[in-house]
């Protein structure tokens, strides 16, 4: 079974801090994704990566950056955390090439991030 592991289930940080969310997948998937989920807004794509060192902006990249130095690991960085970044963050991985892959995405259990 595919396993996508997010480093923290719950995280509390302060405004202005630099925040790192880590995600690791164990199935050698090419694609990795970061989403945030907010009530009434569904899943919104922040960034995705289709290969090592490759990254593409999603729908809401402002205030975020990403890093993919190894195939199995995809990090989301909040450069200077703000209260409007309080959310549930979900990492996912899949086979195929980028957003046009018809392969199902496998999700981690999410990180509930609170910015105070």
């Amino acid at each position: 079974d595919v396993k996508v592991t997010q480093s923290s289930r719950y995280l509390v940080k302060r405004t202005g801090e630099k925040v790192f969310l880590e995600c690791v997948q164990d199935m050698d998937h090419e694609n990795m994704f970061w989403y945030r989920q907010d009530p009434g807004l569904g899943l919104r794509l922040i960034y995705f990566s289709y290969d090592v060192k490759m990254k593409e902006k999603g729908d809401i990249p402002e205030g975020y950056s990403v890093s993919r130095e190894k195939k199995e690991r995809f990090s989301l960085i909040l450069e200077s955390a703000s209260t409007n970044q309080t959310s549930m963050y979900l990492c996912a991985s899949s086979r195929g090439q980028g957003l046009y892959s018809n392969q199902p995405q496998h999700f981690g259990d999410g990180t509930r991030l609170s910015i105070l």
Binding site: G42, L43, L45, L99, F107, G110
Partner: protein, 111 residues
């Protein structure tokens, strides 16, 4: 403007009856359609999918229907069980954005 709409934020169905979840879209370039299920405090899990060359795909209690002329996708669950209570997202592949998720429908199965 939303390309993908799940017009019912929530749906309540009695145990044993059929649950029908709907997803409408505007872009005829979508060519692959998936449904995901999400429990609270867990990530979404893949449920079932369908290609645009088909109009029906079945997997046990779950059936997905695609009506391309109406640009309408539906998921039927029969019979509904308490463990089906969750949020269901449709996800569409194709078009300019590549991948688009609906906002989700919260299905509640009443005993």
């Amino acid at each position: 403007d939303q390309q993908v709409k799940q017009n019912s934020p929530s749906l309540s169905v009695q145990e044993g009856r059929i649950s029908i979840l709907n997803c409408d879209y505007t872009n005829s370039m979508f060519d692959y359609f998936l449904w995901y299920k999400k429990y609270p405090a867990e990530g979404p899990t893949f449920l079932i999918s369908i290609s645009s060359i088909k109009d029906k795909n079945e997997d046990g209690r779950f059936t997905v229907f695609l009506n391309k002329s109406a640009k309408h996708l539906s998921l039927h669950i029969v019979p509904s069980q308490p463990g089906d209570s969750a949020v269901y997202f449709c996800a569409l592949v194709g078009g300019a954005d590549g991948l688009t998720f609906g906002k989700g429908t919260h299905l509640i199965i009443q005993p």
